[in-house]
């Protein structure tokens, strides 16, 4: 009896999510940062405030994770609002 084994390997690296990270800055008001998070991501006031406080207290917060193209768009929008945002990969 002959058996044929087909092995398929998938590289999962490509599927790792990209993180949109916002860093603390000395310029923007806390309230304004919250407002931008609501505008860009459509987050509720509570969720936007939680992220803002994380940025404020810990220096950074991951605002969104997912596909590269969309993450890049978010970073661009955050930059347009003069926030310090970067794209990172896990």
């Amino acid at each position: 009896m002959t058996e044929t084994l087909t092995k398929t390997e998938t590289r999962t690296e490509l599927d790792l999510p990209w993180n949109v990270v916002v860093h603390n800055d000395p310029i923007n008001l806390m309230s304004y940062v919250t407002l931008i998070f609501k505008k860009v991501f459509g987050y509720s006031t509570q969720k936007a405030t939680e992220h803002m406080m994380e940025v404020h207290q810990k220096g950074r917060s991951i605002l969104w994770s997912g596909a590269r193209e969309r993450a890049e768009l978010y970073v661009q929008q955050l930059h347009a609002h003069l926030l310090l945002a970067t794209l990172e990969r896990e």
């Binding site: 310029i27 008001l29 806390m30 309230s31 304004y32 919250t34 407002l35 405030t49 803002m52 406080m53 404020h56 207290q57």
Partner: protein, 168 residues
């Protein structure tokens, strides 16, 4: 008293200058803020939401009329600048330009006017509200007496100061 309150220290209060319209007495305001915060916390909290004792930090920002007008519009849908806007997450935003204008009207120094707004913001964070006239009057009276106490002065009369005549 809710559990944990005894161990929790008062929030840290910081004052930042984020405008260039006038040069504020920042060091003095910072000293004032650290005096005013415990004075406010010694009062009975107001009837509204009072996050102040639970906050880790209160951030006070001095801004221009243009900046406060933008916040006024974006958060309260009201056009034009205002003196002070307080956010429940522990942020007090104060316009130095409006302070200078009102200081002239109320015969107060700009420094004391800024200090008054700081007390006003702290009282908002401590549950005091100024939505209806009775609440506003109560808050006004309390903020004037707290201001006077923190400045080491007798409490100023509530409304007649702007009309006071020079004594000469």
């Amino acid at each position: 008293m809710p559990e944990g309150d005894a161990e929790r220290g008062a929030p840290v209060i910081s004052v930042y200058n984020r405008q260039r319209k006038l040069r504020p007495e920042l060091a003095w305001l910072r000293r004032f803020a650290t005096r005013a915060l415990p004075e406010v916390l010694r009062q009975q909290p107001g009837p509204g939401e009072a996050p102040l004792p639970l906050l880790e930090e209160v951030e006070v920002s001095l801004v221009s009329d243009a900046t406060i007008a933008r916040l006024h519009r974006d958060f309260m849908q009201i056009a034009g600048p205002t003196d002070v806007i307080t956010f429940q997450h522990g942020e007090i935003v104060i316009s130095t330009e409006t302070a200078r204008e009102n200081a002239g009207l109320y015969a107060r120094s700009v420094r004391d006017e800024l200090a008054l707004y700081l007390v006003h913001g702290l009282l908002h964070l401590y549950g005091y509200e100024d939505g209806d006239p009775a609440e506003a009057a109560r808050m006004h009276e309390l903020q004037e007496s707290l201001l006077a106490r923190c400045l080491g002065l007798p409490a100023a009369p509530a409304f007649d100061t702007p009309f006071a005549q020079p004594t000469e």
